[in-house]
């Protein structure tokens, strides 16, 4: 079943076109990455899916229902970990549930333990490292009642080692819970390692350039990063992305 369906979405501010002809789907339990240069209107897209900005034209369906301009249907994880600094880890994790109405502290404790943050339940965000904050932010989304999670470059502020750790940490937890994820990144390797499908965006006005379905089986291991097949895909996507640049240069 197609969970998220986006039809001919466009957004312009005045005469400035930010997004046009965006159509794609995210199936139930699927991990889809959006790969594109920075400033390619990805945050605008997320704001439209999240219902805080209305599209200029086009429709967004979630489970068959039109959710244009409607809030509360997705769980969003911004680029910065965005934890409430006056709440402990545990209280932050249940925030999404609290907004929806009921919290399950038992489950939250279990999730925190599963995420490797045992003993930090009562810690405040300023006592955590960047990677730990992102983990808390991610399990907050996992605990939220919404079945679609939007991740907006969640690892971009982390160093390379932490980033690799986080990717490996994220996959098993996601596989257990089978929520759909729409993931924005500008890191090709990250997109390849994590996703079922990759959608490549062009820069302004943003359109979909190409879509790739990846053949790598799950559960995934870090070893695939060095296989020939992985490198072949990396080249393919790199060419798709950089074609954009040469086009722009010739203009």
């Amino acid at each position: 079943m197609n969970q998220l369906e986006i039809h001919n979405l466009a957004k312009f501010y005045g005469t400035k076109k930010v997004l046009k002809d965006i159509s794609f789907t995210v199936r139930d339990g699927e991990f889809v990455s959006i790969l594109g240069p920075s400033g390619s209107g990805k945050s605008t897209l997320f704001q439209m899916i999240g219902g805080i900005t209305k599209p200029s034209s086009g429709t967004i369906y979630l489970n068959g229902k039109n959710i244009n301009g409607k809030r509360g249907h997705i769980s969003y994880t911004p680029q910065s970990a965005s934890l409430l600094p006056w709440r402990t880890v545990l209280e932050n994790v249940v925030l999404g549930q609290e907004i929806a109405g009921k919290k399950d502290l038992e489950k939250a404790r279990k999730m925190i333990k599963r995420a490797g943050l045992e003993g930090f339940e009562e810690a405040y965000p300023h006592e955590l490292s960047g990677g730990m904050k992102q983990r808390v932010s991610f399990i907050r989304s996992m605990m939220s009642p919404q079945s679609l999670i939007l991740l907006d470059e969640p690892f971009s502020a982390l160093d390379e080692f932490t980033r690799l750790d986080m990717q490996q940490w994220l996959l098993p937890i996601w596989e257990e819970h089978k929520k759909s994820i729409l993931f924005v990144t500008h890191n090709i390797e990250e997109a390849l390692f994590l996703s079922d499908r990759i959608i490549v965006f062009s820069s302004r006005p943003t359109t979909i350039k190409q879509e790739f379905s990846l053949p790598f089986p799950r559960p995934r291991d870090r070893k695939i990063l060095l296989t020939d097949e992985f490198l072949h895909w990396k080249r393919k996507i790199y060419q798709s992305l950089s074609g954009d640049e040469s086009e722009q240069l010739s203009k």
């Binding site: 509360g72 249907h73 680029q79 006056w86 907004i99």
Partner: protein, 258 residues
């Protein structure tokens, strides 16, 4: 401990100034009604305690009542202006104009309208108190983190949830900077309001002292006002430290800015 270590320079300057004052008073034989020496002031402060403790209590009571009412009004106005954009546009400029009217000019009018009772005095304190609180709290609301706001909105939070779970706690540090300013202002406001006409209070004590050329007592009043302001300020600081525990060490966190 840290405060004492860091604060030794201003304390040293203060002590030197007082010593210079004391020496020049003695050296030039300045009469007490013109400028009393610091030792004379301290002496009067100790021996005259029974003369002014009643005044002191009355002023403290007035400060506390005035500050509580003034800050409640300040918080109430800030919340209203924040939640209703129309009110904000309509009233914010008027608020600023209200601060350009000197309290000293307004005070006699308040006496004409409301008499010599408690009410005009509380109005004066409220007028000096509410503004710093309203302005800083409004600023705090406005600076609410955009990412967090988007997160809450997309998760379907109601306006009420956003206010109580995000905006209010986020603005608390700003509220406290407003409260700290207002705390010291309220002491000043109380003394000014007592000049209008009151039977008791440090303001009254001061007027009586200056009209009878008891300059030493005027200085005692000044000292008392300084001490009161400081104590009040420290009390708010203490409350802030107790309530806003999450702030500690945030600036030192390298990940925060990344």
């Amino acid at each position: 401990m840290n405060v004492v270590l860091k604060g030794w320079r201003p304390i040293l300057v203060l002590i030197l100034l007082i010593i210079a004052w004391e020496i020049s008073c003695r050296l030039f034989n300045i009469p007490g009604w013109l400028l009393p020496a610091p030792t004379e002031i301290v002496q009067e402060m100790v021996s005259g305690w029974s003369n002014y403790n009643g005044h002191l209590l009355a002023t403290i009571k007035l400060i506390i009542i005035g500050f509580l009412i003034g800050s409640s009004v300040g918080i109430f106005i800030a919340v209203c202006l924040h939640l209703v954009p129309f009110l904000r546009q309509a009233f914010y400029p008027i608020l600023i104009i209200s601060q350009n009217i000197p309290i000293i000019v307004l005070a006699p009018l308040l006496v004409i309208w409301f008499g010599f009772g408690m009410l005009p005095k509380i109005i004066v304190i409220t007028l000096v108190c509410f503004f710093p609180i309203t302005v800083s709290l409004l600023d705090g609301f406005r600076q609410t983190d955009r990412d967090l706001l988007h997160y809450m909105q997309m998760a379907g939070a109601t306006k009420r949830q956003i206010f109580w779970k995000l905006e209010w706690p986020y603005a608390l540090p700003s509220l406290f900077s407003g409260l700290k300013i207002s705390a010291t202002y309220s002491v000043m406001g109380a003394v000014i309001s007592e000049w209008l006409g009151a039977s008791k209070g440090i303001g009254v004590y001061m007027t009586l002292a200056s009209s009878s050329f008891r300059t030493d007592r005027v200085f005692v009043a000044i000292m008392v006002i300084i001490i009161l302001s400081l104590l009040f300020f420290l009390f708010i600081l203490f409350l802030e430290k107790r309530i806003i525990r999450w702030k500690t060490g945030e600036e030192g966190n390298a990940y925060e800015s990344a």
